[in-house]
């Protein structure tokens, strides 16, 4: 172990250390001052952000090619850490209101983020598996954080069982890849592929299993079954974070594994990924139309958006497009994160005790009674649909461009048509907010309002001043071996 190794995992070290300290500190913070735990957790995330920014400008490969802190990892780590900060903003008032405030919430959140940070730098299948578990286990607990509420318990159990199942797929896939190539390190695998000593059948099956396991994490069809129930049952603040962090981490692994380790498998896996992306876009968007509960609607919406991002993974073996593919996926993840947080902030503001206030009907009259929240929600819905002036449009533009540049015009066509379908259910939310009369009950917690309006504002402003974010995404290169 030398200094480069430690530099490569600096944010992870910072966050792990801080979280362990926080776990102890929290014991001494009395129940009525749990705000301190929240603030300290946020400070830890900010410290880790500083550490991440310090890493910028240099690619560091550590622990014998097991971790790579490259531009790709830095982009995603800042996304994870920023999401963590917003997740804390959303959670604080919500937990108090629902009477489930406990200090462990924040430490669990931070541990999960540690797993995500590790996922972004993982360059070895074992590290991928390790970080998958590290990010998932705290989330299983968080999903069941509203004890006594049946849906929350169901959600935790379902998520845990499905997650364990997915992990099983990943582990088995890793074992097969190891059997085929004799290594779990991406740098060795990429060189071993195509040589005489490699068993191609075993390799393809192993890679497919890894794809399936990670497909569960990003909620790609047909591995999405758990998503609506888990998203609906978990406390909304957890769902908000899970739908962004866990999904982005899944994509981090997918992109790194397939682009850096297995680009040679393109001819075998591209059709499978094509089908996954198409099915995810189609099913997610069509089933969302039938939803009347906002949490389920956003769950299916998150499935649909996983489909759009998968579109960028399809040309993973084409070195001419791969760079744009990664950039467009990263950019879309950022756009999706901002938009999703806006939507969830509004959902959390409207949610009442005992899961009241979650039906679409409960949004009637929001436009008149609480114009700022309604405007924020409208921006989120437009951005999800891909209507200007929002980041969603720029993101889709970039993604579809990548698909067309990779020669997948048919996939792009499915993408635009399903976007049209999505307009139907996203607009329905807007219709109910502005065109129906009602008297919605809303939490006036300042952090929640700030989170909703700030992310909505960012969604609009960053679409007009899009160059910095786009350039950052397109410079966030994956380090190839």
């Amino acid at each position: 172990m030398n200094s480069t190794d430690l530099w490569a995992i600096l944010p992870i070290l910072v966050l792990t250390g801080w979280t362990c300290v926080l776990l102890l500190l929290d014991l001494f913070i009395p129940q009525r001052h749990k705000a301190w735990t929240a603030v300290l957790a946020a400070l830890g995330l900010i410290a880790a952000m500083v550490a991440t920014i310090l890493q910028a400008g240099q690619v560091r490969i550590g622990f014998n090619n097991m971790v790579v802190a490259d531009g790709f990892a830095i982009f995603l780590n800042l996304l994870f850490l920023g999401s963590g900060v917003i997740a804390i903003m959303l959670a604080y008032d919500y937990l108090k209101r629902l009477g489930i405030e406990r200090g462990e919430y924040y430490t669990l959140l931070l541990f999960s983020i540690t797993g995500m940070l590790l996922m972004a730098v993982a360059a070895d299948l074992i590290v991928v598996f390790l970080s998958l578990e590290l990010l998932s286990i705290p989330l299983y607990v968080l999903a069941g954080f509203a004890p006594g509420r049946l849906t929350s318990e169901e959600s935790a159990l379902k998520y845990f069982l499905m997650g364990a199942f997915a992990s099983g797929f990943v582990v088995y896939g890793v074992a097969l890849v190891f059997g085929a190539t004799g290594s779990t390190s991406f740098s060795t695998i990429v060189q071993a592929v195509g040589t005489a000593s490699t068993n191609p059948t075993l390799l393809v099956i192993g890679a497919a299993f890894v794809l399936v396991g990670l497909g569960f994490k990003v909620a790609a069809v047909p591995f999405h079954m758990w998503t609506p129930d888990v998203y609906q049952g978990a406390p909304s603040s957890v769902t908000a974070f899970m739908s962004i962090g866990a999904k982005a981490a899944g994509f981090a692994a997918l992109f790194r594994v397939f682009i850096t380790a297995l680009p040679e498998l393109a001819s075998d896996l591209t059709p499978i990924m094509w089908a996954l992306a198409a099915a995810t876009m189609i099913l997610g968007n069509i089933v969302a139309i039938a939803q009347t509960n906002i949490k389920r609607l956003l769950a299916y919406s998150s499935i649909a958006h996983a489909g759009y991002i998968l579109m960028a993974l399809v040309p993973f073996g084409d070195p001419a497009v791969a760079r744009d593919a990664v950039a467009s996926a990263l950019f879309y993840l950022m756009a999706y994160a901002l938009t999703n947080f806006t939507a969830w902030a509004v959902v959390i503001a409207l949610e009442q005790m005992d899961e009241k206030g979650l039906e679409l009907e409960d949004y009637a009259g929001l436009g008149k009674k609480h114009p700022w929240l309604a405007v924020a929600m409208t921006v989120a819905m437009l951005s999800f649909t891909g209507i200007p002036p929002t980041l969603g449009l720029v993101g889709k533009f970039f993604l579809f461009r990548t698909a067309i540049a990779g020669g997948f015009v048919g996939l792009a066509l499915i993408g635009v048509i399903t976007s049209l379908v999505s307009a139907f259910y996203y607009l329905r939310v807007v219709v109910i907010m502005y065109m129906r009369e009602g008297d919605p009950q809303v939490s006036r917690a300042p952090w929640l309002q700030i989170a909703a309006v700030a992310t909505a504002l960012a969604t609009v402003v960053l679409s007009i001043v899009a160059s910095p974010l786009l350039n950052w995404a397109s410079r966030a290169l994956l380090e190839l071996f």
Binding site: A327, L393, F400, I404, V416, A423, R428, Y434, S467, L470
Partner: protein
């Protein structure tokens, strides 16, 4: 920062100033909101006049161009590329001209959430002006899609009984077309490595069969917007449910975005496809002319009647454009303006009577001329203009279009048949039938309904909203030369491109 004070930036984004002021007003400050919107849109109109004064009508190219990189990524660039030429200058003026008139028409018609109404209206103006000025495909797409949002709210919040249905139908229908255009834009961006319209036209070189696909993808967006038969079914719903000012802008400007799209993108970027598909497009246009006229005649609701007459009138515009010769295209552009003026005025007129009687049923009226003489006279002029009476604007546009479509047989040969012009001329007669039918039902005959006896004639504000339109209705009808002068060189340039393509095919 020079581009901020560029005339085209100012004319596009000046309404934002009004939007910002409106944000600081309270919902109850209705008059303040109205005046803010009116003054903002009048200043915007003033800026567009300044643009006109700087515009050189002898130059066929884009003028007052501002071209700056907006979104730059290693592999692609999107520019803030704006410009105006003979094809768009009149539409720019029409937009900035109709907006204050529409705002004035809402003075007493809109009483609820006035501030929000004005806010959406000014946002809509930004989108519309941007559509006519954008020279980068992505920028154009942004403005194009953006217009959906405020219009959706205008229909959905301030519309009639079935407003939600109409708003969603309007949104989804239009978006259905534009997503296909988005695909075509992306394909062009990848294959030709540019999103700049002038650059793409200059580059050319897209093989003929691919041109057809791209043409159709763009046409999907524009044909729905126009709307061309058989894609028109969103239009009557949107028009009937929209508030008066919304209908005026919808008919006056938003439909023109479709015809303008054909003019700006389909014809010059895919000239071979345009030449090959011209008979089909002209055929659909003629069907639209006759179908719109026939359906108009069958309506009992005045607003629906006017809405369907738009299908017929826009058919004329499309026929003119796809005659692909100077007369046809010039007539088409002029007819876009004419339709904006006449149909805009008709919707205002319908709105005025609806405010008084709260019905639009033709049978509820009769003999109105005796009770409201000023209203009757103004309506007669507009009606005559809409049906193309010589001496008024409609005649000039339709006559030029028919000349183009008729002469098309010899000039470039794409239409190759006199049937198009012949059947379209039948549409002129049908227009007289349904327009006069409407006028007779409403204004002539005895006053047999008691509710109509007490109706008040137009007040100064209502006359002030109609008068500017009438000035142009007469001006274009009597002396259209200045309008043709503005567009002629740009049209000649476009026709040259089309003729070269026609030669390349044969």
């Amino acid at each position: 920062m020079n581009f901020v004070f560029h005339p085209l930036t100012l004319v596009t984004f000046f309404p934002l100033v009004g939007v910002l002021v409106l944000l600081f007003l309270k919902q109850e400050q209705k008059n303040a909101a109205r005046w803010t919107a009116l003054i903002t849109s009048l200043i915007t109109f003033g800026i567009s006049i300044a643009v006109l004064l700087q515009f050189n009508p002898n130059n066929p190219d884009l003028q007052l161009v501002v071209n700056l990189p907006w979104i730059q990524v290693s592999t692609w660039t999107i520019s803030y590329h704006m410009g105006v030429d003979g094809l768009s200058i009149l539409l720019l003026l029409l937009t900035t001209f109709l907006t204050p008139i529409s705002i004035l028409s809402t003075w007493s018609a809109v009483e609820e959430r006035v501030r929000d109404f004005m806010l959406f209206f000014l946002l809509l103006e930004i989108g519309m002006v941007g559509v006519f000025l954008a020279q980068d495909l992505f920028l154009f797409y942004v403005f194009w899609e953006f217009t959906l949002v405020p219009m959706y709210f205008l229909i959905g919040i301030w519309g009639g009984g079935r407003r939600i249905y109409a708003a969603i139908k309007f949104f989804l229908y239009t978006m259905a077309g534009s997503i296909l255009m988005l695909l075509a834009i992306l394909w062009l961006g990848v294959q030709q490595n540019s999103f700049s319209v002038p650059e793409l036209i200059a580059k050319g070189g897209i093989p003929g069969n691919i041109q057809i696909w791209l043409f159709l993808a763009f046409a999907a967006a524009f044909a729905i917007k126009v709307p061309m038969w058989p894609l028109h079914s969103w239009l009557p719903d949107a028009h009937v449910e929209a508030p008066t000012a919304g209908s005026v802008i919808l008919a006056g400007v938003l439909l023109k975005m479709g015809t303008y799209g054909f003019l700006r993108f389909n014809l010059p970027m895919f000239p071979q496809a345009a030449v090959q598909l011209a008979p089909w497009m002209a055929g659909l246009a003629v069907v639209g002319i006759l179908y719109g006229a026939a359906v108009s005649y069958a309506q009992q609701d005045v607003k629906k009647l006017v809405a369907y007459s738009s299908v017929s009138h826009l058919g004329f515009v499309m026929l003119g454009l796809f005659a692909l010769n100077p007369q046809g295209i010039q007539g088409g552009i002029l007819q876009m303006i004419n339709h904006g003026l006449s149909t805009g005025a008709l919707f205002l007129i319908v709105g005025m009577i609806y405010e008084r009687r709260h019905t639009r049923d033709l049978n509820a009226f009769g003999g109105l001329w005796k009770i409201m003489p000023v209203y009757g006279t103004l309506t007669l002029i507009v009606t005559l203009s809409s049906m193309g009476l010589p001496g008024l604007n409609g005649f000039i546009g339709e006559f030029t279009i028919l000349l183009g479509a008729w002469g098309a047989g010899e000039a470039t040969g794409p239409l190759g048949s006199y049937w198009f012009a012949g059947l379209a001329a039948l549409g002129v007669i049908l227009a007289a039938v349904y327009m006069l039918f409407m006028f007779q039902k409403m204004f002539l005959g005895p006053v047999d309904k008691d509710e109509n006896r007490t109706l008040k004639d137009l007040n100064w504000r209502e006359i002030a909203t109609l008068l500017p339109l009438l000035v142009f209705i007469f001006w274009i009808g009597i002396y259209p030369k200045p309008f043709f002068t503005l567009m002629a060189p740009a049209v000649e340039k476009l026709v040259a491109v089309l003729q070269a393509a026609a030669v390349a095919i044969h």
